[in-house]
Symmetry: C2
DNA sequence: TATTGTAGTGAACGAAAGATCACTTGTCAA
DNA sequence: TTGACAAGTGATCTTTCGTTCACTACAATA
């Protein structure tokens, strides 16, 4: 039960930090959103900063087990259509999964203030996706689905436009439908450019 | 002289907001950085929020006159090397110009809190660069430097990877040299893919 | 049943925040 | 020379912040 409340505090903190940032969040509101009085939080965490660090620990651990390990790499698609479908599934998840969206927003807001947030932000926004697509494109070249080229360069050229559209969704959620359309259109353009017909 | 101090306050605010965010900035420190005592600021602005709004006004106006008008579009390059050179000049400016860097950081930090910041962020990070390159690529296609394709799609595919590397520089300045190298490498790859030999 | 530890309460604290105000200084126009 | 005004000072106000503490309720254990 104590464990449970500690977890609930982290969830509430992720929610508030992602909307108002660390400095913009206060303990009163945070406690109130859990049905607690403000001092109640201090039974579980020593300070606001400790909550922040615990949240970052959790985000880092989550990223590590979810995206950091090789066995979580998606299978290499067997056809262009399968590649599109895989991209759209991933995009849909990363754009709509609340936990992931909030994590991106927090990292966006705190990347200049906290070194660990800075590091994790680069993984989330740049290197993570790029490495994943490097692996996929390498496999697709082996299967003769993509023209032979530097897979890391193609991955960078593919991942960053998609990442830009994901950021757009975080910033202006009303443009989500359009952004998803553009991800698909861009993917098809990418295949038309680099695919083997 | 009053005008001068008002301007100096905005400069100091841009500096502090870009480092600590709006909520993380306090009037005491802001005044102190100008050699004023905290109440001195209130002779020029009614409140912290008014400073924020004035700063945003200035950022919006600056963006409008700098990037918003058609006559500030760069000339269409006449050769692949000229295209690379133009890109590298622009990248160098946008990565090293302090005012521009601080503006991007402020927009990054406040995009979820302020609607005007949200809008300007999308221009800075996505639509602005894309529209500019749409124009350039369109011209390069006319000159036979680029294969015929959708210039807006190409512009999106070119601008967003560069934008991702610019964000990387903002977040981790020690990676600036590497990022600039990658911008050039990506540009050459882009030309190798879409250029007419 | 008695005891002990845990989760939560409500009052209170000091520090720091944004803002106000009476006052001084210096500049410039009448 | 004088009057008015703009710019800056220092004390002070109110509010809110993060945090502490004595206390209560209650569940689990011995």
């Amino acid at each position: 039960m104590a464990k449970d409340t500690k977890e609930r505090i982290l969830n509430a903190a992720l929610e508030m930090f992602s909307q108002k940032g660390y400095e913009g969040t206060n303990i009163r509101e945070l406690s109130a959103s859990l049905g607690l009085v403000k001092s109640g939080i201090y039974k579980h965490y020593e300070s606001k900063e400790e909550i922040w660090n615990a949240l970052l620990d959790r985000m880092i651990a989550y990223y590590g087990e979810r995206f950091g390990s090789p066995e979580h790499l998606p299978p290499v698609p067997d056809s262009p259509e399968e590649f599109i479908a895989m991209t759209m599934r991933m995009a849909d998840l990363t754009i709509h999964d609340e936990q992931i969206v909030k994590t991106r927003k927090v990292l966006t807001l705190e990347q200049f203030r906290d070194d660990r947030a800075r590091e994790l932000a680069t993984k989330h926004f740049l290197t993570g996706l790029t490495e994943m697509f490097t692996h996929i494109f390498s496999g697709m070249m082996d299967k003769g689905l993509l023209r032979l080229d530097d897979p890391a360069m193609l991955a960078f050229a593919y991942a960053t436009p998609i990442s830009a559209l994901i950021h757009l969704c975080d910033r202006e959620p009303e443009k989500t439908a359009d952004a998803i359309r553009r991800i698909e259109a861009f993917s098809r353009h990418f295949l038309a450019t680099y695919g083997v017909k």
